[in-house]
Every structure is written in structure tokens, then in C-alpha cells.
Symmetry: C2
Subunit: 144 residues, 2 copies
Amino acid sequence: MARMTQGPFLLDARLAADTVPVCDWPLCSVLLMNDSRYPWLILVPRSAGASEIFDLAPAERQTLWQEVSRAAERLKAITACRKINVGALGNVVAQLHVHVVAREAGDFAGNGPVWGQGAAVPYADAAREHLLQRLRAELQRGVV
Amino acid sequence: MARMTQGPFLLDARLAADTVPVCDWPLCSVLLMNDSRYPWLILVPRSAGASEIFDLAPAERQTLWQEVSRAAERLKAITACRKINVGALGNVVAQLHVHVVAREAGDFAGNGPVWGQGAAVPYADAAREHLLQRLRAELQRGVV
């Protein structure tokens, strides 16, 4: 898909509706999926018009990868999960976004992928705020 | 998960059974999933013991990302598909591997992910050899 860079970056409406903002890193906005079944981050490069990873300029690609690796490593440390799943699919939402999901052996999707499995279970307000506070402290640490 | 580097790299037995080798890039072995429903590459870093992307050394992570981006861009060019899906899940096979899948609007999994959707449909011999020839020509071009 050709890159269509026009105007400022605007977060896709569906991503905005399904998530809450955690923090902004140099390239990506870090979002928390409002689905209490899994600790689930979504990284969205603030690069207007990108849909595929190769739509990004080489320097942006490198930063994206660093930020995805950092999100994966810190989410693993925060949750002590069994496995991190990383995915850039974009079958539904065209705006480039990367999922970083903490998986447990007994979670809703079992050994399968999280996408398209049942309906999201939104966090209770207090649980969401507690997790957001923890995520912000850990994800913003040392990032300039 | 701590990195467990012991001995030489050995391709996971399930990955070996489900795929055919395409070519070796500097870091990754490039495999073709033997599932004719989707043009589907799997990149496996030849780095013993890695399970998460952050198990790789920083230089390897950067090379992995370059190779994943290259695979995505070339598979898109070869197939003229609607969207590339990239995923590093590892819920079943622990050995670090990255899926790069060409998706079409009307394909078997529709708007969903390819993982865990029905059974693979192996290629007929002639079709597989034809695709492998094309992939090898395109994926090896200019890679040293």
C-alpha cells in the first residue's frame, strides 16, 4: 500500500474507542486495550498515513522496533506472564498499530491468538486506574 | 523468559514439519508455511534459545526487524495482496519465529487472524515448487 502522508496524525476512531491512553513515546502513542482478559498494549506510530511497517522511513522503523521491544520486555516484567504476543495485523483498522499482549496459559484465548476471540471485557474503573498508574510508572521510566 | 543459549541452533521440530525452506538471510532462516490458503513466510532467527524478541542482543533485534520489514515488503510486491500480517506469538512453539502473511479480503480467515483457523491445505507439488522459485528469486535479490 502506498504511503499516504497528508496532514497531521489522527488516531483511528476505532482504536480510540477501544483503548485508553497510557503515555507517548518518541514515535508511538502507547494505548491500553480496554479488555481485562489480557494486559494488552497497542503502539501507534504518530506517522500519518502509515499502514504497513515498510511505509515508515528506515529511521522510524528502527524506532518502532525499539519501542515494541521495550513494550514487550516491560510488559513481561510487570505481568510475569508466560509469553508476549506481538502482532501487526491491520485487517480491520488500516492505521499502522502493533499489539503487545501478555499471555497466560489459562487465559481466554488459550493457545490461540487474542484477535477475534469473543468480546472485550472492559476493566472496572478502579482496576483500570490501578493498572494505568503501574504501566505509566514502568513504561515512562528512563524514556526521553 | 531468560535466554537459554546452549549449543548450536536447531530448528524446532514442529516448524520444520509445517514448512519448507526458502533461503537463509544473515540472521533468519526464511521458511514457507506449507498452507496454500495464504502466502505465508516464517522467519526464524538462528539464535539458539531465543523465545521473546528481547531475548536477542540489540544488534540481532535490529537485524531481525530489517529482515521482517524486507520480507513484508517483498511478499507484498510478489503477491499484490491487500495487507501484510506480521506476528510473533509463540503460544505453541517456544522458539522465536515471526510470521509474515499475505492477506486478501476473501481469504479463508477473512478479517480474522490466520492462526488457529482450520487446518492447513498443503500445496500441490508443482504449485509449491513454482512459488518457491519465485520467492527465492525475489527474497535473495541484493541480500548479502
